[in-house]
């Protein structure tokens, strides 16, 4: 034994990798990891450079200015303020999140923990199918079917009752395009993503974590609530963030449904816009280099919002999944 150790010390680091032929695989994975980082940097650099003109003109006041007016007339100079788009983006995604997160998590719990076995495969397949439907189809359905119904059955009754006292639910509602209906369609779009990820994360919880609770006399609910959900919290938050990311960046359905108005209206039943919708609808026919630059600046802002929310989610995951000290050896 001592002899073997003396002549061939345990290889470490680079030598170890070389010796075991892992080097190739290691380089390959490293390469792909770098490609991903490279992509993020490239997007950042392109939008940063492309927005130079607008950044020089507006600086950070771009974020808070609320007039977006690209048309030059005798009376008005064009002006570019991102607040209506930022506000629309955040509010429509917030509505989507508030509706889709609880429902999606509940569906995931049902699929993983409560659903009869026979139904499980069928329902699971349907949910995955829904997640894969292109957004233009949700947009079309929203325009043709959902938004007229929503306006009649939900928006109008709300606006004419409590809307008289709560300004952000106020009417009268002239067109069936607006922030609220967009938020609801976004919710429907991200719901399957959240549900499918929640289901997968819950199914990955080892059975002994359930058995321990069952053997202590837990009901099914207590098992879910006290053992399964705490165990999978990080993954569920990840699923919700993935859905939120889709909602924030959703372009097609938002453009079709939100009404594309850069005027800020207090009521969520009125037309608005989102950063993605504004960029998509105006960039192809921008009327000046400043207009184009401002749209790219807006894209940069959207990129920043997504990044910040994801970092916040990371922090949240790290905070909550840490558990009691000593959980990670």
């Amino acid at each position: 034994m001592a002899n073997i150790q003396a002549t061939s010390p345990k290889p470490t680091g680079w030598a170890h990798r070389l010796q075991h032929g892992d080097l190739f695989f290691w380089l390959l994975t490293l390469f792909f990891a770098l490609v991903i980082i490279g992509l993020v940097v490239a997007v950042g650099v392109v939008t940063y450079n492309g927005s130079a003109e607008a950044r020089a003109e507006y600086g950070t006041s771009f974020l808070t200015q609320s007039d977006w007016n690209p048309i030059e007339t005798d009376l008005y100079q064009p002006s570019y303020g991102a607040w209506p788009a930022i506000r629309g983006t955040l509010l429509s995604s917030l509505i989507a999140l508030l509706l889709a997160a609880p429902t999606g998590i509940a569906i995931g719990i049902f699929l993983s923990e409560l659903c009869p076995l026979r139904l499980r495969a069928l329902l699971g397949f349907t949910v995955e199918l829904l997640a894969a439907i292109p957004s233009v189809i949700y947009g079309l359905w929203g325009v043709a079917v959902f938004s007229p119904w929503f306006t009649n059955a939900i928006a109008n009754p709300l606006a004419t009752s409590i809307g008289q006292f709560i300004p952000w639910l106020a009417g009268p509602i002239a067109v069936s395009r607006g922030l609220a209906v967009t938020g609801v369609i976004l919710a429907i779009m991200i719901l399957p993503t959240i549900a499918a990820i929640t289901r997968d994360v819950l199914q990955a919880v080892p059975n002994h974590q359930r058995d321990v609770m069952l053997a202590l006399g837990s009901t099914r609910w207590e098992v879910i609530w006290l053992s399964v959900l705490p165990y999978s919290r990080a993954g569920i938050i990840g699923g919700v963030m993935l859905g939120l990311g889709r909602a924030l960046g959703e372009t097609m359905a938002a453009t079709m449904l939100i009404g594309n108005s850069t005027r800020i209206e207090e009521s969520i039943f009125y037309p608005a816009t989102t950063a993605a919708a504004l960029v998509a609808s105006e960039l192809p026919n921008s009327n000046s280099t400043m207009h184009e630059s401002a749209l790219i600046y807006l894209a940069l802002v959207l990129f920043g919002i997504t990044l910040i929310l994801n970092l916040a989610a990371r922090y949240l995951v790290w905070q909550t999944s840490r558990g009691p000290a000593g959980a990670r050896a």
């Binding site: 009869p116 076995l117 080892p206 002994h208 974590q209 359930r210 058995d211 321990v212 609770m213 069952l214 053997a215 202590l216 006399g217 837990s218 009901t219 207590e222 006290l226 053992s227 705490p230 165990y231 919290r233 558990g323 009691p324 000290a325 000593g326 959980a327 050896a329």
Partner: protein, 266 residues
């Protein structure tokens, strides 16, 4: 005798047939578990030891497509009789599993308190007292008393298994079922668990599944031997004999038992 200070609970199993979907996994089982004894269930793997054990506290039916028929009595009460709440049965007949894994997201303290809280106990002082008592009974208190707020995962495998035992005895069951509690542990941790089981026998009635015949011989009072019948299209487990551990290991009545304990099968 210390045993007399503690209530004596026995179990009577008659015609127990466990099913997975339509498939009966074990032929009808008749078995007696006497008060303050350690009953060992031994046999080759796949013969249905875990399945039968899980029928004894109605854990079996928590698998969605599984059910059991027959009668299992705790003292005079048939736990399979209509109107019996399975969650209450499981609080009376506790269970410790093979994997010594603590509830992942909970501290050592909460790993014990969770069962007490489920039973409606909320008073902090009372919880503290019961947690300490359970940890002491599981011979774990001295090792963890200074780190009760740390994760259960910070403990070694053997300590985690004693934590599982403490969690089970915290709610004061009448009977405790063990499914291969030592099969993932090193020899020293195994000895500590065996010592603990012998202590617990003073207060509880114990049933232990083990694939380790020496372990059965060392700690059990009586032994039940299971085998697999491979004649049919689906192998079916069956109980071949039950008797005092001494008799089973010295003069087994059944030829299959003899072959099994002398190492010819399994």
């Amino acid at each position: 005798m210390a045993a007399t200070a503690h209530p004596a609970h026995s179990m009577t199993v008659r015609g127990l047939k466990p099913f997975y979907a339509k498939r009966q996994a074990v032929q009808a089982v008749d078995l007696d578990v006497r008060a303050h004894e350690i009953l060992a269930l031994i046999g080759p793997s796949g013969c249905g030891k875990s399945t039968v054990l899980r029928c004894l506290n109605r854990m079996h039916e928590t698998i969605p497509y599984a059910h059991a028929e027959g009668s299992v009595k705790l003292d005079d009460l048939d736990i399979y009789q209509a109107g019996i709440d399975a969650t209450l049965v499981r609080r009376k007949i506790g269970m410790v599993f093979q994997m010594p894994i603590a509830l992942r997201t909970r501290s050592i303290y909460e790993n014990i308190a969770v069962g007490l809280r489920l039973g409606g106990m909320n008073d902090r002082l009372e919880l503290d007292r019961r947690v300490e008592q359970a940890l002491r009974s599981a011979n774990l208190w001295d090792e963890v008393k200074d780190k009760l707020q740390l994760s259960g995962l910070a403990l070694s495998g053997g300590q985690q298994q004693r934590l599982s035992i403490a969690r089970t005895i915290a709610i004061e069951p009448a009977v405790i079922l063990f499914d291969e509690p030592c099969s993932a542990l090193d020899p020293i941790s195994t000895l500590k668990i065996e010592e603990l089981l012998l202590q617990l026998r003073e207060r509880y009635t114990l049933v232990i599944v083990t694939h380790n015949m020496q372990q059965a011989a060392r700690i059990s009072d009586r032994t039940a031997v299971f085998m697999v019948e491979r004649g049919q299209e689906q192998p079916v487990g069956l109980l071949v004999e039950e008797g005092s551990t001494e008799q089973i290991f010295s003069k087994p009545r059944d030829r299959r038992t003899e072959e099994y304990i002398s190492g010819k099968v399994g």
